[in-house]
């Protein structure tokens, strides 16, 4: 079980990810985000992981890849909804140092200057 929905608010793409993110399910998320970030009007991404029930290092790959894509165009990525295990995976992989972590989706949007 894996699914996600995306929403555009101004220059921010919000992706809400649910279920199990692994090697098998990662490609669909990657492709959608990759294409969305290629659009000129999307500058920042908010990744809401509060409904994620599982993630392994395949998730790191997708997130890091999109982070680089965003950095290249001067955008930022803000994540929220990290469970304890996902938090540790972010920590171990250094993602915590380069991404902004927000306590909620609203806070994440706030950090990007969107009401």
């Amino acid at each position: 079980m894996f699914s996600f929905e995306t929403e555009i608010r101004g220059r921010v793409l919000i992706a809400r990810v649910a279920g199990e993110l692994d090697h098998h399910t990662a490609p669909s998320l990657r492709e959608t985000l990759e294409r969305a970030i290629e659009e000129a009007d999307v500058v920042h991404v908010v990744l809401n992981l509060s409904s994620l029930s599982f993630m392994d290092s395949s998730g790191i790959g997708v997130i890091l890849g999109r982070y680089k894509q965003l950095s290249a165009k001067g955008g930022r990525m803000v994540v929220c909804g990290l469970g304890p295990t996902v938090q540790r995976i972010f920590e171990l992989s250094g993602l915590l140092k380069i991404l902004t972590v927000a306590p909620s989706e609203e806070a994440a949007l706030g950090a990007l200057g969107v009401a």
């Binding site: 692994d22 090697h23 098998h24 599982f54 290092s57 790959g61 304890p84 540790r88 992989s93």
Partner: protein, 147 residues
């Protein structure tokens, strides 16, 4: 328990839920179970992607799990290409498949989420990962074994 399945993407979930269901008899906390599932997922994903890079000729993966007292041992074995330089493979961020957006964090996660990780591998012969994790049952929460 022993679980054998084809080295194809989609079976990562099968392997981790089976090991989690097996480990459940030790009454681990949700977090400990998540860590075990993650470590299993890393090892099985590696066997699928790296062990059998030639998708059409994919082989079998064997996952064994055993409990001895409060210790869970999980083995993930493939008969794929094997690892030439194990020390380098273990390094954080080292990956031979950046093209697949692999992060090179698989072994690091296994080592952090399990108490012990052993790698036995030989080029052309395959790889066996052995992971050990002690699970302290929460006091009182462990039911007396039925049967």
């Amino acid at each position: 328990m022993t679980l054998t399945f084809r080295a194809k993407s989609g079976n990562e979930a099968l392997a981790r839920v089976a090991v989690a269901a097996f480990a459940a008899q030790l009454d681990p906390t949700v977090e400990v179970l998540d860590e075990i599932k993650t470590a299993v997922s890393e090892a099985v994903t590696n066997a699928i992607i790296h062990g059998y890079p030639n998708e059409t000729a994919s082989g079998e993966i064997v996952v064994r799990a055993a409990i001895d007292g409060e210790t869970l041992t999980v083995e993930v074995e493939d008969h794929g290409v094997g690892i030439g330089d194990i020390a380098t493979a273990r390094e954080p961020l080292f990956t031979t498949r950046p093209d697949l957006e692999r992060s090179g964090m698989g072994f690091t996660i296994m080592e952090n989420f399990m108490d012990e990780v052993r790698i036995e591998s030989a080029p052309g012969r395959g790889t066996k990962i052995t992971m050990i994790r002690r699970i302290d049952s929460p006091a009182g929460a462990r039911e007396t074994p039925v049967n």
